[in-house]
């Protein structure tokens, strides 16, 4: 996973997340949208044929003076907690 910030301001961040596809990006986007201080989150991925960039670019917009990078970190933690909770629930049933 290679990160490269393409655009950054106080409440907005665009970051390229190398090597990922919809599998992780959509989960991450979903987690970001559940975050209280995130007003908008999306990712953009072009298929190789379209000639544009192929690595996903995640864009986050926050409100209330929250650093988008902190929101991203908290979303990553949230995804990790979800996977742990899912594994525990699955193993309890199995």
């Amino acid at each position: 996973m290679e990160l490269r910030v393409t655009e950054s301001s106080d409440d907005e961040l665009s970051i390229e997340i190398g090597g990922e596809d919809h599998t992780f990006m959509n989960v991450l986007k979903g987690a970001l949208l559940e975050h209280d201080d995130v007003s908008a989150a999306t990712y953009d991925m072009n298929p190789e044929q379209s000639g544009g960039q192929t690595e996903p670019i995640l864009t986050i917009k926050t409100e209330g003076g929250v650093d988008p990078l902190d929101a991203l970190e908290e979303a990553a933690v949230n995804v990790r907690e979800k996977t742990t909770a899912f594994r525990e629930a699955f193993e309890a049933a199995a």
Binding site: M1, L3, I17, E20, D21, H22, T23, F24, N26, V27, L28, K29, G30, A31, E34, L69, L72, E73, A76, V77, N78, V79, R80, E81, K82, T83, T84, A85, F86, R87, E88, A89, F90, E91, A92, A93, A94
Partner: protein, 249 residues
Amino acid sequence: MTEEYDVEFVEREDRKARFLVRGVTPAFANGIRRAMIADVPTMAIDTVRFVENSSVMFDEQLALRLGLVPLTTPPEGEFTEDDTVTLSIDVEGPATAYSGDLVSSDDLVQPADENVPIIELKDDQRLEAEADAVLNRGKDHAKHQGGVAVGYRHLQRVEVGDDVPEFEEQERRIVRGVIEEDGELVPTSEFDHDLTNRYPGKEVRVEDVPNAFVFHVETDGSFTVDELVTRAVDSIEARAIELEEAVQL
């Protein structure tokens, strides 16, 4: 933010299972499904060295067939992506070479199915080859895809209403998947997927239960369903941890 998930098995075998998960978002459910198909590494033959092949098929055709044979995948951590396991096959005609004739150098990596015909050999035909199996993901080649026909559907809740008007012809009401009836889970195959078989002469209303998904998971024999699901979840978790650490820097 703590998540509350609840998993319940509807159907359960080693290679095939259906289970209900409550409390997942569609994004997370889809992440798990995609990870099961493309991101869980399995062993498969990748390189074949032919010593003798006098059969009716070309070397590369046989190599493809050998690659598609599912191999049991060792427990996590036993192998890394670069390790190889050598399997050899030596069959002389008249006979048929089966996947079960593959002799592995490692007990953990064995053909998962033994009766897959590789090639039928006639008199004086012979197949002798050595093959290297590697660990890789379904994203790179379909032969490394451990999950077969992995998918999910919403859990459906059925509400039984009034009687159908006396002289009205009742139309069939097809539902596929699993329905919930007073907390009981009923696979629709029990009533031939037709709600009018289960509730004759009644009006029914079907609605999706929010955030409840019934997963259907099958594996090609590389590992059990439990193993596939846990490894898929692990792969998402590994990426979340990687991102977390990368952002902290």
